[in-house]
């Protein structure tokens, strides 16, 4: 116990650095008087290599961080989090919400010189988004056809109403376009362009050396005038976090995105003038830490036990001592950074109250036996981040104080998904839920019943609730933005009351970037965006 205390004080000392607070508050120093400089090589930390780099086939930050510079989406989010046209210039929806028309940008060419047309959009939507892209297949489930009346118009036809606001908020991630002429023959999954992407973006793919680096260079024919500024981007593959921070310090890496360094290294670098450490530019990729309950365990099927577990954890204490300024109290499945959907009333909350937890467990009929123990649970933490691992240990120690013995079972990524989402071999699981700007994209599947076994990050808890199912289904096809927001408010309150999953912590990814970089972190999903305006000062 004493070593545990020591660990916490050490972390507390690291985290309370004033420098971090300063950088989080004023991450963008003022450079208004400077003129952008052409040229320079920007180097990026790349922590985990991907099997392919085409964002029309795989929705993940690991792919966007590279593919998002080479290929472009129909829309992106601007500095205020509002949809802004990229390959699409304008859009409109029919009154019934079943037809959505995109006017496409003219004069855009692929990196191989061929023109970009609506045929590319139709092909990508029908063959890639609808059939292969993760989350895309759910989003476009009711897409029946994409008509191309002329080369610069794409008309999406849906079987059921598709809320325009949902589509526009989903497309920055799920709306990347691939070239039809490159993918139309052969197996899309086995296409060599998946590892040597061809796009319309500001940077052209040059080389991928496995285990070493990926290189892209300036696209001289890019459609935005005067862009991009950089000559090259180099992604360096560095899997070891300590090695990555050493390379940042040695000047070999300018940018480590998505909390790629350890919390303690980030805190240390925040005190160095050569770097900016901040959560800015990641508002579009918020995540919550989750506690997932397996309803097949009779104890956990009892709401009083789930409430007791929530009351037994001192979340503010955990955040303050382990996560520092980078996290805050989570209040529900929709994070507070979601301007469009965060409800004014989140429903029941579960403040730290050990006595109440014990009382609830007594009421549920699980009285403390000999040695104070009531029952024992298996907890499976996901291996994605150090915070999850720390949180698992915190859950274990906190629950032992109310008489629930917790055994932690650690797995790597594949093992965790298999055991939790396919074999249901868990009592408690803990990981991240990543919110994608609209609850219909990847949030409601955590709560909607009837998810097929083996689908990761969906409702695999054995929990069914007709009320929440109806709310989710209605909200997904509601075209009136005001009514949609209200429905998601109902969804959040119901989720917090029934507690099939608890989302007690809300976090933003942490960016470590060279102070020489300009125009960075200026959109809510900046790490994934095109970087057409990024430049490096001398």
């Amino acid at each position: 116990m004493s070593s545990h205390r020591f660990d916490m004080t050490r972390r507390a000392a690291l985290m309370t650095s004033a420098a971090i607070a300063a950088n989080v508050a004023f991450p963008q120093r003022s450079f208004a008087q400077e003129t952008p400089r052409k040229g320079g090589v920007f180097t990026v930390h790349y922590g985990a290599e991907q099997r392919q780099l085409n964002p029309s086939l795989q929705a993940s930050t690991g792919v966007y961080i590279i593919g998002g510079k080479i290929q472009e989406a129909l829309v992106d989010l601007d500095a205020n989090g509002q949809p802004v046209g990229v390959l699409a210039e304008s859009w409109e929806s029919s009154a019934d919400g079943k037809t959505i028309t995109f006017k496409l940008r003219q004069g855009v060419t692929w990196h191989d010189g061929k023109p970009f047309t609506s045929a590319d959009v139709a092909f990508t939507a029908m063959e890639m988004w609808k059939k292969i892209l993760n989350y895309g297949s759910t989003l476009q489930l009711f897409l029946t056809a994409v008509d191309t009346p002329d080369p610069h118009t794409a008309v999406f036809r849906y079987e059921r109403p598709m809320p325009l606001s949902l589509l526009l908020r989903a497309l920055p991630d799920l709306g990347y376009i691939s070239a039809k002429h490159i993918y139309e023959t052969g197996d899309i999954r086995a296409n060599p362009a998946n590892l040597a992407p061809v796009g319309t973006g500001p940077f052209k793919f040059v080389q991928y050396e496995r285990g070493q680096h990926i290189i892209a260079e300036r696209n001289p024919n890019y459609w935005r005038p005067n862009a991009p500024y950089l000559d090259r981007i180099i992604w360096r593959v560095v899997t070891d976090r300590a090695a990555a921070s050493a390379q940042v310090e040695a000047g070999q890496i300018h940018y480590s995105p998505f909390s790629g360094l350890t919390i303690s290294d980030s805190a240390r670098l925040a005190k160095d003038k050569r770097y900016i450490v901040s959560t800015k530019g990641n508002e579009g990729n918020p995540r919550t830490n989750t506690v997932e309950f397996n309803f097949r365990r009779k104890e956990l099927a009892d709401i009083r036990v789930r409430q007791a577990i929530a009351h037994a954890l001192n979340i503010p204490f955990f955040i303050e001592n382990f996560l520092g300024d980078f996290a805050k109290l989570g209040v529900g499945p929709i994070p507070s950074v979601s301007r469009d959907f965060f409800p004014s009333d989140n429903g029941p909350q579960y403040a730290y109250d050990k006595a109440r937890a014990a009382k609830l467990l007594d009421e549920a009929g699980y009285k403390a036996g000999a040695g104070g123990e009531r029952f024992s649970l298996r907890l499976l933490p996901a291996p994605w981040g150090e915070d999850i691992s720390l949180f698992a240990t915190f859950i274990q120690q906190s629950l032992s104080e109310v008489g629930i013995k917790v055994e932690i079972v650690r797995n790597d990524g594949g093992g965790f998904l298999k055991q939790v989402y396919d074999e249901h071999a868990f009592d408690l699981a803990s990981g991240w839920h990543q919110y994608r700007n609209d609850p219909a994209v990847s949030t409601t599947v955590w709560y909607r019943s009837g998810q097929p076994k083996g689908a990761p990050w969906t409702n695999q808890w054995g929990w069914t609730d007709p009320v929440i199912d109806t709310i989710i289904d209605n909200a997904a096809t509601e075209v009136d933005p005001g009514k949609r927001k209200a429905l998601y408010g109902d969804f959040v309150r119901r989720a917090n009351a029934e507690l099939p999953i608890w989302t007690p912590i809300e976090q933003l990814f942490l960016t470590v970037i060279s102070a020489r970089a300009r125009n960075h972190s200026n959109t809510p999903r900046w790490g994934s965006s095109t970087w057409h305006d990024l430049w490096l000062a001398e």
Binding site: V41, T43, A48, E49, Q50, R51, Q52, Q58, A59, S60, T61, G62, I132, N134, Y135, S137, T138, R189, A190, N194, L195, E209, R210, G211, Q212, H213, I215, I234, R236, V237, V238, T239, D240, A242, A243, A246, Q247, E249, A250, Q252, N411, D412, G413, G414, G415, F416, L417, K418, Q419, D422, E423, Q434, S442, P452, K453, G454, A455, P456, W457
Partner: protein, 325 residues
């Protein structure tokens, strides 16, 4: 030549061993929860069950374990290492890309450790229980006790961050394209720290062995005879003692070739080198069975080859081994 038959027999004897190792690893990995599609889903950050099913079919994971193993061995007989699901190309090609880095690192570290181990061992033995021996033995103990990842990170902090003499990682400089001798020098520059990091532990072992075996040989009769003949001390050490004292050192090279492959996982991770060790680690995490088995197979061949060379060296150092006395 007698030595060749000996080595050939050894090579033949190692085939069943390699086969057993492959089958063992194949079965062992079946116990790990999750397959390559689960690992892929983890990387993708989501996907539906139908996609997963389709992918499993694509990679032949819907077959029974016995059928998968049978397929694998049948391909191996035809010298086909299969297809890597992480890299999307043949395993042989993936390994061929990574092998040079690992062989370069291993050769450099082994040569470094062997050479300096030998020199320091001889110096320590000559000055046994005097100050050079004490200094060298203490240093050896420190090198041996230091974990290589810690040593690597400290070396980066000192030589890359503070002094800025050596690069903190990577195999070569990618910001400027170099060719010919400049590229060779650049790669050598990048390999200095990894070589030292991987080499120091082995250096410690070599110097202890060399010191002990020198001390032993120095007390043998033929050394006394050589001295009695009036040979000077350098002649005695170089011509009589060293040659005999080297035998255990050479044995160790054979044994350590395998250990070094294991140790290189850490060094390759710390210095971000694209070698075989890191590839093996990644294949386990990604459940890429074909790549992992391919690496095991190639490493086993590598160890067999090193031991074969050791046998040849043996014969040079001590002719009695081939004559079968």
């Amino acid at each position: 030549m007698r030595i060749l038959t000996l080595a050939g027999r050894r090579l033949a004897a190692s085939i069943p061993t390699v086969l057993l190792i492959l089958i063992g690893i194949f079965l062992l990995l079946q116990f790990a929860p999750g397959d390559t599609v689960d690992a892929m889903m983890a990387q993708m950050g989501g996907g539906d069950a139908a996609t997963a099913r389709e992918l499993r079919k694509f990679y032949g994971l819907d077959l029974s374990v016995a059928a998968q193993l049978g397929n694998y061995l049948w391909r191996l007989v035809r010298f086909d290492l299969g297809f890597s699901s992480i890299y999307g190309k043949p395993v042989a090609a993936v390994i061929a890309e990574r092998l040079p880095v690992t062989i370069l690192l291993m050769t450099a570290s082994l040569s470094f450790a062997f050479f300096f181990g030998l020199v320091l061992g001889v110096i320590a033995a000559r000055g046994v229980n005097k100050w050079p021996d004490t200094v060298i033995s203490t240093l050896g103990l420190i090198f041996y006790a230091t974990p290589s990842f810690w040593f690597g990170l400290m070396a980066i902090v000192v030589f890359s961050i503070y002094l800025q003499w050596l690069p903190p990682g990577g195999f070569e400089d990618i910001t400027t394209a170099k060719t010919g001798i400049w590229r060779t020098l650049d790669i050598a520059h990048h390999l200095v720290l990894p070589t030292l990091t991987l080499g120091f532990i082995f250096l410690a072992i070599y110097l202890r062995i060399m010191r002990a075996s020198m001390l032993e040989v120095l007390n043998l009769d033929f050394v006394r005879t050589a001295r009695a003949k009036g040979l000077d001390e350098t002649g005695v050490v170089v011509r009589h003692v060293l040659r005999n004292a080297m035998l255990p050192m050479v044995t160790l090279i054979g044994l350590q070739a395998g250990t070094m492959l294991g140790g290189s996982v850490v060094v390759e991770s710390v210095f971000s080198l694209p070698g075989l060790g890191r590839l093996a680690y990644e294949s386990v995490i990604q459940r890429d069975l074909n790549t992992l088995l391919g690496i095991v197979f190639i490493s086993a061949l590598l160890v067999v080859a090193v031991n074969f060379l050791v046998d040849l060296l043996y014969a040079r150092l001590d002719p009695r081994i081939t004559s079968g006395v």
